[in-house]
Subunit: 295 residues, 2 copies
Amino acid sequence: MMDLKQEMKERCAYIEQALEQAVPEQKDFPPVIFEAMRYSLLAGGKRLRPMMVLAACEAVGGKKEDALPFACALEMIHTYSLIHDDLPAMDNDDYRRGRLTNHKVFGEDMAILAGDGLLHHAMETMADACVKNPTPQTTGAMKAIAHGAGVEGMLVGQVVDVFMEGKPLDIETLDFIHLHKTAAMIRGALQAGAICGGADEKTVAAFALAGEKIGIAFQILDDILDVTSTLEELGKPIHSDEKNQKTTYVTLFGIEKSREIAARLSAEAVSIWEEQGEGCAFLLELTKYLTTRTF
Amino acid sequence: MMDLKQEMKERCAYIEQALEQAVPEQKDFPPVIFEAMRYSLLAGGKRLRPMMVLAACEAVGGKKEDALPFACALEMIHTYSLIHDDLPAMDNDDYRRGRLTNHKVFGEDMAILAGDGLLHHAMETMADACVKNPTPQTTGAMKAIAHGAGVEGMLVGQVVDVFMEGKPLDIETLDFIHLHKTAAMIRGALQAGAICGGADEKTVAAFALAGEKIGIAFQILDDILDVTSTLEELGKPIHSDEKNQKTTYVTLFGIEKSREIAARLSAEAVSIWEEQGEGCAFLLELTKYLTTRTF
């Protein structure tokens, strides 16, 4: 039996070290932008998305070292999106992962630039990996991440979220937001890892589908935890959806029904991993954990 | 004798059409983000940076079609940087290229997202080109653009500009800002084009050096025009540097001395093009024009 917590801890430490090196402290002028980028990038967190990139690569027989630049880039993109989401002109949040948000520490101008900087650096990190090894694997991994994050992925989910703020949502719109804002990056992570590891198209498609299901289940659970968790457990403000009068799975279906839907999606993802075989053991356990976590 | 104006007009039209197709109108929900991206991307302008990508590619014997995705991506990145620069938390400008800035039309939240969207789409457009043709040429072009725009390029120039706002600058700091905020992208454009066209390392380095000189001369001229031009000629507010108490070449050296410095840099770039031979005829004429323009 796999000790999932221990596995996650070790994999997290490996990613943490890589991120530390990917955005090094800058002694030269001006250190402030690197400080601001590092403040949010190295603020802890479970590193689930980069962990998925590496695990997907290994699951199809690839080497995790080859996927590492893409894993780091994905986490930079995730972090940038949080910094910009938190801005006064967006969600106007003061806390994130239990500490002050980037603009509360560095000012709004530097927070915008720190976010931009992380997105730039993600692009450059991936471009570097592709130059060192210009193959269908590296360029394909880059494309999967760029697409998952871009104007047909995470970004458009954020746009609809902002655009519909304060308005009641129907289930189609809510699903659109979840699928794009959250699931597209998780799909991109698993796709990128599988492509990087040399998987065939059918396998990549299976990983992508699992990613969508995990992503939506993960987001539904996030909405549930916003209602049922505490500030200490969650590391970010609770009841923020209620405060912002947000439509969520919980407001549409209630907690119990929402749990059922998340559990169904989780089971569907698990069965994809089972079909894929032994190589996906860690992804299977991770999926179960992510979609049933209580904080 | 080349009719430069006519040449530029034709090349501009070619790029304009490609940009139009690269960020198409979006009929589906939500059109707003594409509207906001297109509002700024398709606001006219001389398309100098993408024009340089294509011209550099052709100058070394490459086909401009191969460089087109990189040219479009570079212009998307340039446009995103203008949108974010204009934000209330940054320069707080109301006009750009003679029309209202993005956030004045679409709101601050959508302007942040439209900028992010253009940067995402630049990354995806380049990644696409790399996937279709995973070679040292495509990945190298992407790297050159990512580096020119990134945390060691344009972005850090913007950071120092913001960081030093309202403070008097010495010449070293001013040169740092010009070299990074403006010249790095022009260097990246010429590098990317040359790499894409299959140039050897020595040629790429020469193109990069010319790009730096053109970029700095271009920026010095921009500072001069801010003082000597009119709103109608420039299409953006004049005397904005004075209003913002900015240190520029003009405040440090006066108009005449600044013109001399720009002319010297221009001549150095021109002599690089002359050494490179007949293929660089258009780049040579463009360089002369850019560094001696009166509006």
